[in-house]
C-alpha cells in the first residue's frame, strides 16, 4: 500500500524520539500498577481478611462504580481489583499521548512536512506511532504480569492480567489514532480521546453498579470479563482485538486520504475585526483557552450528572468512607474529593500554554509591544484558574441536576475546592518562570505525587496525618465534612506566596 511506504523508516525515527519518553511513561505505569497491587495485597495478608474485603466491596455500590467487583479473593485477585482503575487511566493516557505526540502534534509543528517529501507514505507516521504504543503497552503488560507472579498470583492469571493492561493500552492508542486523524489539533484530538476513555470507564462503572444485563456497553467490561485469577477466560480478548483492528484501520484509512494538516472539517472564514473585549494579553489568553474550558466543562457537567444519577441508587447500599479524611459518606463525597484533581489538570494544562507562546515565537509579537511582562506571564495562569473554577462549578451543577433538591449545596461544595485547584495552577506558574523547559513534566509529577499520598495512606505506609500536607485534603470537605476554613486560608496564603515568587522570577528571566 502506497500510504504505508516508509513505515519502517518512520518507526526508527519515532523509536528514537520516544526512547526515553515512552519508556518512562509505560515503564513507570507498570511499576505503579505493580506497586498498587502489592500494596493492597500486603494490607490484606490473610485469606479471611481478603474474603471480608471482597464481600464488602461486592455489596458496595460506590466501590462497584469506582473500581468494579472483586472476582477472586486470592492475593492476585484483590491486587488486580485495586489496580484496574489506575491501569485503565495511566496506560490509556500513556498510549494517547504517545500516539498524539507522533502524529497530529508533529504535523502541527511542521516536522512531518519535512518528511513528506522523503518518500514517506501518508499513513506511515500513524502506523509507526501505533507500533510504538503497542510495544510500550506490551512492555507495561509484561511488567505487570511478572509483578503479579511475584506478588503470588497464578502464572496464567498473571499472564491474563498483563493482557488486560495491554488491551487498555491498545484500545486507547487506536482511539487516539482515530481522533488524531479526524481533528486538526493535537489538543482537541487528545481531549476527545481522553473523553472517550473516560466515557468507557464511567459506563463500566454504571454497568457494574447496576449489576448484570448491560455489561456489554463498555469495551472496558469486555476486558474485565477476562476475570484473571477467577475464571481465567481469554475469550473476551477477541472482541477487544476486533475493535482495536477496526479503529486502527479507520485511522489509517483517513490518514491515507485526507490532506496534509486537515481534519475532517474545513476551516471557515473568521471575522475581519476583533471584538472590543479583546484588548490585551489576558483577554487574548481567555479567548484562546475558551474552547478548552468549554469542552472540559461540558464533560464535567455530563460526568457529574451520570454520577449524580447513579449515586441515588448506590448510596442505599453500604456506605463508603474515605480513608484518613474526615468527610462525609457516599459516592458524592468521594467524587467531590476527586473532582478537584481533574479540575487541576484542566487548569494546569491551560496555564502551561504560556510555554507554547514562547517556543512558537508568538511571545515576541506581544512582548515587543508596550505590554507589561507580568500581564503577559500570568495571562494563562489567570485563564487556568478560571478554567479550574468553571469546571468545579459545572461539575456541581451536573450533580445538582441529578439531585435538584440539593443543587445549591452541591454547587457550593464543589466550588469550595477551588483553593486546591488554584494551588496547582500557581505551582505551575512558578515552574514556568523558574524552570520553563521542564515545567510541564515537574508540575504533573507533583500533582501525581500529591494524589498518590492517598494510596500511601490507604496502604498504611504513612499515617493519615500526612494528608494534611495535601491541598486536596485541606480544602473544605463539604457538604458533610468539616469546612476547614483555617486550612483553606492557609492554602490561599500559599498561593499568594507562589504568585509573588513567580512574578519576581518573571521579571528577571530571559524570554526564550
Amino acid at each position: 500500500m502506497n500510504a504505508m511506504r516508509g513505515t519502517r523508516l518512520m518507526l526508527g525515527l519515532v523509536l528514537r524520539r520516544e526512547r526515553i519518553h515512552a519508556t518512562a511513561w509505560y515503564g513507570l505505569a507498570g511499576l505503579v500498577l505493580v506497586g498498587v497491587a502489592a500494596g493492597i495485597a500486603a494490607t490484606y495478608p490473610t485469606e479471611a481478611a481478603r474474603q471480608q474485603l471482597a464481600a464488602s466491596v461486592n455489596s458496595s455500590g460506590q466501590e462497584l462504580f469506582l473500581i468494579g467487583p472483586i472476582f477472586s479473593a486470592s492475593l492476585g485477585g484483590i491486587g488486580l481489583w485495586r489496580m484496574t482503575g489506575v491501569a485503565a487511566l495511566v496506560v490509556s493516557l500513556a498510549s494517547i499521548f504517545t500516539v498524539m505526540r507522533n502524529t497530529r502534534a508533529t504535523e502541527e509543528s511542521g516536522t512531518t512536512e519535512l518528511l513528506s517529501a522523503a518518500r514517506i507514505g501518508r499513513g506511515a507516521p500513524l502506523a509507526a506511532a501505533m507500533v510504538v504504543a503497542a510495544v510500550g503497552s506490551a512492555f507495561c503488560g509484561v511488567i505487570v504480569g511478572i509483578g503479579f507472579i511475584a506478588i503470588g498470583g497464578s502464572p496464567f492469571g498473571s499472564l491474563l492480567a498483563g493482557a488486560q493492561v495491554i488491551s487498555f493500552g491498545l484500545l486507547a492508542a487506536t482511539i487516539a489514532a482515530l481522533t488524531g486523524q479526524m481533528l486538526r489539533t493535537a489538543r482537541a484530538g487528545t481531549g476527545i480521546a481522553v473523553a472517550v476513555v473516560g466515557g468507557f470507564y464511567l459506563l463500566r462503572g454504571a454497568a457494574d453498579a447496576h449489576g448484570g444485563g448491560i455489561s456489554w456497553v463498555s469495551p472496558f467490561e469486555w476486558i474485565a470479563a477476562i476475570r484473571p485469577f477467577a475464571e481465567d477466560n481469554a475469550l473476551p480478548l477477541l472482541p477487544v482485538l476486533v475493535l482495536v483492528t477496526a479503529l486502527s484501520g479507520a485511522g489509517l484509512f483517513i490518514a491515507g486520504r485526507r490532506d496534509f494538516g486537515a481534519g475532517l472539517m474545513h476551516d471557515r472564514l473568521g471575522p475581519a475585526h476583533a471584538s472590543n473585549a479583546l484588548r490585551g494579553p489576558v483577554t487574548l489568553a481567555l479567548k484562546i483557552s475558551r474552547p478548552t474550558i468549554v469542552s472540559w466543562s461540558l464533560g464535567a457537567l455530563l460526568v457529574a450528572f451520570l454520577i449524580g444519577a447513579v449515586s441515588a441508587v448506590v448510596d442505599k447500599q453500604a456506605p463508603l468512607k474515605l480513608s484518613g479524611i474526615e468527610g462525609g459518606q457516599g459516592l458524592i463525597t468521594v467524587v467531590l474529593y476527586l473532582v478537584p484533581i481533574i479540575a487541576a489538570v484542566c487548569g494546569m494544562q491551560t496555564t502551561l500554554r504560556l510555554r507554547g507562546e514562547v517556543t512558537s515565537g508568538r511571545a515576541e509579537a506581544v512582548l515587543s509591544r508596550p505590554v507589561d511582562r507580568g500581564r503577559w506571564g500570568f495571562a494563562y495562569a489567570i485563564s487556568g484558574a478560571l478554567a479550574g473554577f468553571i469546571v468545579l462549578f459545572t461539575f456541581g451543577v451536573g450533580l445538582g441536576l441529578a439531585r435538584p433538591s440539593e443543587m445549591l449545596t452541591l454547587i457550593v461544595a464543589s466550588v469550595a475546592k477551588a483553593p486546591a485547584v488554584w494551588f496547582f495552577v500557581a505551582v505551575t506558574a512558578l515552574l514556568l518562570c523558574a524552570l520553563p523547559r521542564a515545567a510541564g513534566g515537574i508540575a504533573y509529577a507533583l500533582l501525581a505525587a500529591f494524589v498518590s499520598l492517598e494510596l500511601l495512606v490507604e496502604f498504611r505506609i504513612v499515617p493519615p496525618q500526612v494528608l494534611y500536607a495535601s491541598p486536596f485534603a485541606l480544602a473544605p470537605q463539604l457538604p458533610d465534612g468539616p469546612l476547614n476554613a483555617q486550612w483553606a486560608i492557609l492554602v490561599l496564603a500559599g498561593i499568594a506566596a507562589l504568585i509573588m515568587a513567580a512574578s519576581r522570577v518573571l521579571r528577571q528571566m530571559d524570554i526564550r
Binding site: 486538526r184 489539533t185 476551516d267 471557515r268 472564514l269 473568521g270 471575522p271 475581519a272 475585526h273 476583533a274 479583546l278 484588548r279 490585551g280 494579553p281 487574548l284 479567548k287 484562546i288 474552547p291 512558537s360 515565537g361 508568538r362 511571545a363 515576541e364 509579537a365 506581544v366 512582548l367 515587543s368 509591544r369 508596550p370 505590554v371 507589561d372 511582562r373 528577571q508 530571559d510 524570554i511 526564550r512
Partner: protein, 306 residues
C-alpha cells in the same frame, strides 16, 4: 519631521560591548552598534551570527550579560513596558494564533501597541493583498509575514526593527515592502533591517553593520565597506612576476601561465609590480556585494575591522 534628543547623544540605538551567552554558546561577544536617528540601517551576517539575539536584547526580552544597551534613550531591560510604544517590530519567525483571523490579530496587536494609523492599515492590507478574514492557521508563510508587516508599518512608531522581513514574500510583495521602507524613511522613522538579501540591502540601506560570530566587524556606508574588500585585478603579462603574494594588501594570486588573477585591497602596489612586467591585457573589477560578503563571512579571511 520631528526631532527628539536623547540626553547628550541622539542615537536611537546604542549598544556597547554587549555580551550574551546561552550556556556554552556565546551568541554575542562584545557587540557594538550605534544607530543615529533617521535612515535605514542594515544588519548583515551569516546564520547564527547573533543578529536576532542582538534584536531580542534591544527589545528587552533577553538580558545582556555585560555591556551597555540603550534604545530610544532608555535601557530596554529596566525600562517600563510603555517605552516600547515608540517602536514596532517584525520577528524573524512570524507565528500567529492559529484560531484568530488575520484581522483579529491585527486588531489585538494594534490595541496592545496603543497607537495605529487606521487608514494606513487599510491601504497596506490592500497593497499586500491580504485577506483579513482568513484564519491564521490557513495562512501561508508569506501571508503570516504580511500580517506582521502590516501591523508594524501601520503602528505609530519612531523606530522599526525588522528581522529578515521579506522571508517568504514573492517578488511583487517584496516591491511593496521596499516601498513601505522608503515611505518610513521619508516620514522620518529609523529602520533597523536584518537581512540576507544583498540586493535588498543595496537598494534600501544607507548604512550597514556586518555581524560575525557575535560581534560587529564593520560598520559604514556600502561605499566605505567596498573599500575594505578586495578588488580583482585580471591581467596577461609578458614576464611572470615573482613574489606577488608578498606585496602588502594582496590576498590571493591565481596563475595560469601568463594569465594572472589577483585579489587585493591595494591596487596601486599591484600595478607598480605589473607595469614592470609588461601588461598585455588588464581588467580591474571593483568588489561586488557578494565578494564583500564572502570577504566578511568566510572564516578563512581575517576580518578587517575598522
Amino acid at each position: 519631521m520631528k526631532f527628539v534628543y536623547y540626553g547628550t547623544m541622539n542615537n536611537v540605538i546604542e549598544m556597547r560591548g554587549v555580551k550574551k551567552s546561552f550556556g556554552r554558546v556565546h551568541a554575542l561577544v562584545g557587540l557594538d552598534l550605534q544607530l543615529a536617528q533617521g535612515g535605514v540601517h542594515g544588519l548583515l551576517g551569516p546564520n547564527g551570527a547573533g543578529k536576532s539575539t542582538a534584536i531580542r536584547v534591544l527589545l528587552g526580552m533577553l538580558r545582556a550579560d555585560a555591556g551597555e544597551v540603550k534604545i530610544l534613550g532608555v535601557d530596554p531591560w529596566s525600562a517600563p513596558a510603555q517605552a516600547r510604544s515608540r517602536l514596532a517590530y517584525v520577528p524573524g519567525d512570524v507565528a500567529l494564533w492559529p484560531n484568530l483571523s488575520g484581522g483579529e490579530t491585527l486588531d489585538i496587536l494594534a490595541r496592545m501597541h496603543g497607537g495605529e494609523n487606521l487608514s494606513k492599515r487599510k491601504s497596506l492590507i490592500e497593497a499586500f493583498e491580504l485577506d483579513p478574514t482568513r484564519r491564521s492557521r490557513t495562512y501561508s508563510k508569506g501571508n503570516r509575514q504580511k500580517v506582521a508587516l502590516v501591523s508594524a508599518f501601520s503602528a505609530t512608531a519612531e523606530l522599526l526593527i525588522l528581522d529578515e522581513p521579506t522571508s517568504g514574500l514573492d517578488p511583487l510583495m517584496e516591491a511593496v515592502f521596499k516601498q513601505c521602507v522608503a515611505d518610513a524613511r521619508r516620514d522620518g522613522q529609523t529602520v533597523l533591517l536584518s537581512s540576507h538579501i544583498l540586493s535588498e540591502v543595496e537598494q534600501l540601506c544607507d548604512r550597514v553593520s556586518i555581524v560575525r560570530a557575535g560581534q560587529v566587524v564593520d560598520t559604514g556606508s556600502l561605499a566605505d565597506l567596498r573599500g575594505h574588500a578586495a578588488t580583482i585585478v585580471t591581467a596577461t603579462v609578458t614576464h611572470v612576476p615573482r613574489g606577488l603574494e608578498d606585496v602588502p594588501g594582496v590576498q590571493r594570486v591565481d596563475m595560469d601561465g601568463r594569465h594572472l588573477q589577483i585579489s587585493t585591497t591595494a591596487v596601486d602596489s599591484v600595478m607598480e609590480v605589473l607595469v614592470t612586467h609588461g601588461i598585455e591585457t588588464l581588467a580591474v573589477a571593483p568588489p561586488t556585494l557578494e565578494d564583500l560578503f564572502l570577504h566578511y563571512y568566510s572564516n578563512a579571511t581575517k576580518a578587517v575591522s575598522a
